[in-house]
């Protein structure tokens, strides 16, 4: 399960960041922020070839000693970042994919809310609970 889940706007500012409360929140902010380097590089590299057939899931962005950072970019260039602990070997690529898919669906619901102004921070409770379901439960 994830230790940090983030949604980053097209302009690369955070729309939503949740991390496990036990750890330093700032550290995850930095982790998500630095992962954007790789996301941008990957998106621009793919962008040249085929925009339509681009896979949204970017895979493992970069491994650190303690965490694995996965990325996903929607067609509107909104980025999702999921950070899991390196020690957590139970999560396969497929599980990460389905987590992203779930996140994307929930994000789509947020966007469909007529009272949500695209570009504002996400404050939806439904989205919150979807994210919570994917996070490591703090005990």
């Amino acid at each position: 399960m994830a230790v940090c889940i983030a949604v980053v706007a097209k302009e690369n500012y955070p729309l939503y960041i949740r991390s496990v409360p036990s750890e330093n929140e700032l550290k995850f902010h930095y982790t998500v922020h630095t992962s954007l380097d790789v996301v941008e590089e990957k998106v621009s590299a793919v962008g040249k070839v085929l925009v339509d057939q681009r896979e949204l899931y970017l895979g493992l962005l970069y491994p650190t000693e303690d965490y694995k950072v996965y990325g996903y970019v929607t067609n509107s260039k909104v980025k999702f970042v999921i950070v899991v602990e390196s020690s957590n070997t139970s999560l396969r690529d497929n599980e990460i994919r389905s987590m992203f898919r779930k996140l994307h669906n929930s994000f789509t619901d947020v966007m469909c809310n007529p009272f949500y102004n695209p570009g504002d921070l996400i404050q939806s409770k439904a989205f919150d609970s979807v994210v919570s379901s994917m996070m490591v439960q703090a005990c």
Partner: protein, 1124 residues
């Protein structure tokens, strides 16, 4: 930096090369020897064999060889690898000792020399007792040797020398000291290299042979040691594949060792060494992925092997070193041509090394803080060893060689740990961390990771902060801050700003302190409210020249120093005026400036609103607000300050929008110009104390506001209803510039005309100007004519004039500027007719521009307003009529050519295409010299009025005199029509129509007939034919008259005669008509015998073909008619 405990030993990191010792060379005093030595070691290129040479004296003592163990049965090893071993084999125990000796084959004292040489060899052999090292002899000779086999004495003496020295022939070399020294040397060293390889090969076999004596229980350490030695010898042998294989098995064996607290350091140290070797070889073999995989495996295996909790910092230090040395290896491989990628580059390893260095620092602070350490360790120092170095890698100084699970002496152990902790306290941790971070920064910069770089720079800044190097910390933080700001990561920005604020506080930097404080208090900061409140209070203190309160988590000693600095700053009056640029940050006051309209008329005062809003927890007082405009003359009107009349509003309440309205009257000379807000300044604090100029460039806005404005514009959110005179901040938009435009004219301009215009006519347009002003419109000027900026050809073909008495010509302009009309009283009307002549068709835009000045008084200021009104009209120009011209014979037959001296007709048709009636006043034919009128031509269309589609025709009889140059065409001349539109008040214009040229021909014979206009039945009708010869020759003519039913005739029916040149022959016939009506005349056929091609038909055209014959009259008729 001196090498620390954790640095890898240099003998491990170097590339092992076979060691060959050279003796018997006197490189100091003997030039020949020096040259030989230089040839060996100076400028060694990469393609030379890898050997490290050393010159040693002949009696050099090589390391003693220990007596070989015959049995391992009772042997318990004390450690894995001796610290001296690698160096011994790299630099001390040679693979081959080479003895240089000067001896020529023809030496006179051969016997003595041979003996001396043998003695020298023996000395070296004795010193190498027990080693497998071989000795080789090189004879330095002055003469070039003969080819092998030819010099009998040489082979004989060589054999003798070998015997004397107990040498195999393969170990005796000859080095002639001649021109080709380097060539000989290269051949020599290749031979040495082969011998060295054999030596190392034997060494490997020797080590391998120990294996059978070992058992798994007591000799585990030896398994590792032997594998390592085999690998190392393989490296010396340059057999890197085998070296890698043995290092790998050594690595596997080292992890099989039983690890416990006393030997964990030794195991990790050796594991680190072997891992280093493996990674290095993998990179060398160009298999970087293997290197990375090995390193990952290594880290995973060792990560948890922390060892003693009291020495946890050692593990972190070791880990840090592992990452750093792998980073170095990776970087080196890249320098040798390996390509790295964004997600796999040395930066990550340096970063991780820095991470462990930070961890080490944290643990060191935690573990080494006990007070008993502060006094230093009491003697004897447990870390001292008798030889000052350890015997085995990774062992403890106070219990070297100890291999059992429990420490031998708990007291000693405790003192040892305390000693290590004490030593750790002296380590410059921050320096290490910063060095690693800057390595990582350099790598990430290279691999396009700007954000990672930023993150590491923040860490560097924080580390500098911890080392109290605040200036460097600020520099780094300030550098990256703007990236986080523009990317709107507020949490990260807040954290960086907080550190920066602390730095600037501790350095008492007023400007930075204020700038960071302002941003931390503002909306971009995610600090809790109480922190904001604290910082804001501190800001006010700074403005009042008081010392701000310390930031939390600062070192108390540093706070005391900072306190003194702040007091000093206040006393010095330094940095009393601080300028903060709002667009470079997100300050706690927001500003939006707007002109009420995008443009203002000159006679209306310009209105400007400044909106301010404070985002901080407490109200903000300010002393002055001024706006700078592009025309600085207006600045005085856009300023409020404390003490002025409306000063009660100079306090901003948190979260409320405050509006400040300014108005001023624009100057006349600014009409048509833009007035821009160049900046807004908010001055906080009093000038007597400290003031801060918060400056917004342009119409306000900071780093964050553009995005906020965009979001606000997208939002559907219902705005809360605000009390009167309050505005919602988000609804305010910035309008930073306005145009000053002239006063609205109150004047009417009417144009009276009847389009379309006819080309070349004097088209009349009546301009009526009526003043609708309440006062006198002064200095009214009219500009009328073709609107500038159209096709340049139109300017050439359009002419305007006010004078309607005559047609204008090319000298008239296309536009009449500034026609003085004078003053206009209210309601006064002026009419001006404008005549336009367009010489080409097409549409044109005409401009009528009326300008005048007015005196006006706005808000007590007298200003002169210039007003103007423009009217434009598009006028189409069409052709008034078309003229068709035809040439005809006198018989109204169409002619495509005319004949010299033969009369013909010119017919003109004027077809009106004008929508308006055309009055043709007259027409005139202006003939070219090549034409002449037969009689006086008169105008036949005088005062004819043509309606649309009607046409008028004229007919002129002309002849062509013989062309002087005998040209084949003749110019006709011009047809001039004077006309005007059918109304009285326009001048007459003349249109000139050029007449077409016509083909001209001469004919040899011309014939024409004289005959009455009619005949009468049974009355004689005399006809005389004139036949002219127009050639220069006598012409013989055959002429005949064919009979006709309608006539009887008398005369020559068929005749042949001659005509002299230029002469004329007349033939007279009397026709006698028989029937009345139009009758064909008897056909006259003429043939020229000399010119048979001249046909009768051509001549026929000159003759009348028919005549009208009246019936026979009665005599009485004439009388009755006369009577009637």
């Amino acid at each position: 930096m001196t090498p620390t405990q954790w640095d890898l030993p240099p003998e491990l990191c170097c590339r092992p090369m076979a060691f060959v010792a050279l003796t018997g060379l006197d490189v100091v005093y003997n030039a020949v020897h020096r040259a030989i030595w230089d040839a060996f070691c100076v400028n060694r290129r990469a393609d030379r064999v890898p050997i490290s040479f050393k010159v040693l004296p002949g009696d050099h003592e090589y390391p003693k060889c220990r007596t070989k163990r015959t049995s391992y049965e009772w042997y318990i090893p004390k450690g894995i690898l001796k610290t001296s071993w690698m160096n011994k084999h790299l630099n001390m125990v040679p693979a081959l000792v080479v003895l240089f000796y000067e001896l020529d084959w023809d030496e006179v004292q051969w016997k003595e020399k041979q003996l001396e040489c043998a003695t020298k060899v023996e000395i070296v052999r004795t010193s190498l007792q027990g080693r497998n090292t071989k000795v080789a002899v090189v004879l330095i000779q002055k003469k070039t040797p003969l080819p092998p086999g030819e010099d009998v004495m040489a082979s004989e003496r060589a054999g003798a020398l070998c015997n004397a020295c107990d040498l195999s022939g393969k170990f005796l070399f000859v080095l002639p000291h001649t021109d080709h020294l380097v060539g000989y040397i290269i051949r020599l060293e290749n031979a040495f290299y082969e011998h060295a390889q054999t030596y190392y090969h034997n060494e490997i076999r020797r080590v391998k042979s120990h294996k059978e004596f070992l058992n798994k229980t007591t000799h585990q350490l030896l398994f590792v040691r032997h594998q390592f030695k085999i690998a190392f010898f393989s490296e010396l042998k340059q057999d890197t594949q085998n070296a890698l294989k043995h290092y790998k098995s050594a690595y596997g064996l080292v992890h099989e060792l039983r690890a416990h607290e006393t030997n964990i350091l030794e195991i990790k140290t050796l594991a680190g060494f072997i891992n280093y070797k493996i990674c290095r070889l993998c990179f060398q073999h160009n298999t970087p992925l293997d290197a990375i995989a090995q390193f990952r495996k290594h880290i995973d295996l060792c990560k948890k092997k922390i060892g003693s909790a009291e020495l946890a910092f050692e593990h972190a230090a070791w880990m840090s070193k592992q990452f750093q040395s792998f980073g170095d290896l990776f970087d080196e491989a890249i320098k040798l041509g390996l390509t790295a990628i964004q997600t796999q580059n040395p930066g990550f390893y340096y970063q991780q090394a820095a991470h462990y260095a930070q961890e080490r620092k944290r643990q060191a602070v935690q573990l080494c803080g006990s007070p008993e350490l502060s006094t230093g360790c009491p003697p004897p120092d447990p870390l001292d060893t008798p030889t000052a170095v350890l015997d085995f890698y990774g062992q403890r100084a106070w219990r070297q060689g100890h291999q059992s699970i429990d420490p031998p002496d708990p007291e000693k152990e405790k003192r040892g740990i305390l000693g290590l902790q004490g030593k750790e306290r002296e380590v410059p941790h921050s320096e290490l961390i910063i060095a690693l971070l800057s390595n990582a920064v350099a790598q990430f910069k290279k691999y396009k990771c700007p954000r990672m770089k930023g993150h590491l720079m923040v860490q560097m800044g924080e580390e500098y902060y911890h080392t109290k190097d605040y200036a460097k910390a600020l520099k780094l933080l300030d550098y990256v801050m703007c990236d986080y700001r523009t990317e709107r990561w507020w949490n990260l920005l807040t954290s960086i700003l907080s550190t920066a604020l602390r730095c600037s506080y501790l350095m008492a930097q007023v400007k930075d302190y204020v700038a960071y404080g302002m941003e931390l208090v503002g909306r971009a900061s995610s600090l809790p409210e109480d922190q904001k409140s604290r910082i804001e209070k501190n800001l006010f203190k700074v403005l009042m020249k008081e010392v701000p309160e310390a930031e939390p988590d600062c070192d108390p000693a540093a706070v005391r120093a900072a306190h003194a600095l702040w007091s000093e700053r206040a006393a010095q009056a330094a940095e009393d005026e601080v300028m903060v640029e709002a667009q470079d940050c997100v300050p706690f006051v927001q500003c939006k400036a707007r002109f009420l309209h995008p443009s203002f008329h000159l006679d209306v005062p310009v209105q400007l609103h400044i909106f301010l809003r404070a985002d901080c927890p407490h109200p903000v007082h300010f002393s002055k607000l001024c706006v700078s405009l592009s025309n600085q003359d207006y600045n005085q009107y856009c300023c409020v300050s404390e003490g002025s009349s409306e000063s009660q509003g100079l306090c901003l309440l948190p979260g409320q929008t405050h509006m400040f309205a300014f108005r001023f009257v624009a100057r006349t000379e600014d009409v048509g110009k833009k007035i821009e807000i160049t900046g807004v300044d908010l001055i906080l604090g009093r000038e007597s104390e400290r003031c801060v100029f918060l400056n917004w460039r342009g119409g306000g806005g900071d780093t964050a506001s553009a995005h906020e404005a965009l979001q606000a514009s997208r939002s559907f959110k219902r705005r809360d209803r605000l009390p009167e005179q309050q505005v919602d901040w988000d609804t305010v938009t910035i309008q930073a510039s306005t145009m000053i435009i002239s006063r609205v004219p109150r004047i009417s301009v009417q144009l009276l005309h009847s389009p379309p215009a006819l080309s070349n006519e004097m088209y009349c347009m009546t301009i009526t100007i009526q003043s609708l002003e309440d006062t006198v419109a002064q200095d009214v000027k009219l500009t009328a004519g073709l609107k500038p900026g159209q096709d340049a050809n139109l300017t050439q073909t359009t002419h305007v004039t006010l004078d309607g008495s005559e047609a204008c010509d090319d000298s008239h302009p296309a536009l009449l500027p500034d026609i003085d009309v004078g003053d206009l009283q209210p309601q006064e009307k002026v009419e001006k007719p404008l005549y336009i002549r367009c010489s080409t068709t097409g549409s044109r835009i005409f401009l009528v521009h009326v300008a005048y000045t007015m005196n006006a008084c706005i808000e007590g200021k007298d200003i002169v307003c210039k007003c103007h009104k423009d009217e434009t009209v598009t006028i189409e120009t069409v052709i008034p009529f078309e003229v068709a011209v035809k040439f005809m014979s006198t018989k109204f037959e169409h002619l495509d050519r005319v004949f010299v001296d033969v009369p013909f007709l010119l017919m003109t048709d004027i077809l009106s295409s004008s929508p308006w009636p055309l009055h043709l006043l007259s027409s005139r034919l202006q003939l070219a010299p090549s034409m002449a009128a037969v009689d006086q031509p008169q105008c036949q269309v005088e005062h004819v009025v043509l309606q649309t589609g009607e046409s008028a025709s004229e007919c002129f009889c002309l002849t062509c005199p013989p062309a002087p140059h005998g040209g084949s065409t003749a110019a006709s001349g011009q047809y001039i029509i004077s006309w005007r539109r059918d109304s009285e008040n326009v001048p007459v214009v003349s249109s000139v129509i050029p007449l077409p040229h016509v083909a001209l021909e001469t004919i040899p014979l011309y014939i024409h007939a004289d005959l009455p206009s009619f005949g009468r039945v049974r009355e004689s009708l005399p006809v005389r034919y004139h036949i002219q010869n127009r050639t220069g020759l006598v012409q013989e003519v055959e002429m005949s008259v064919e009979p006709s039913d309608a006539f009887m005739f008398s005369g020559l029916k068929q005749v042949r005669f001659r005509i002299l040149p230029g002469e004329e022959q007349q033939m007279l016939y009397n026709f006698y008509p028989l029937t009345a009506g139009y009758q064909s005349l008897p056909l006259l056929s003429i043939e020229l015998l000399r010119l048979p091609r001249l046909s009768t038909q051509l001549l026929q055209r000159f003759l009348p073909s028919r005549i009208f014959v009246k019936p026979q009259g009665r005599l009485g008729d004439d009388a009755s008619i006369a009577a009637a």
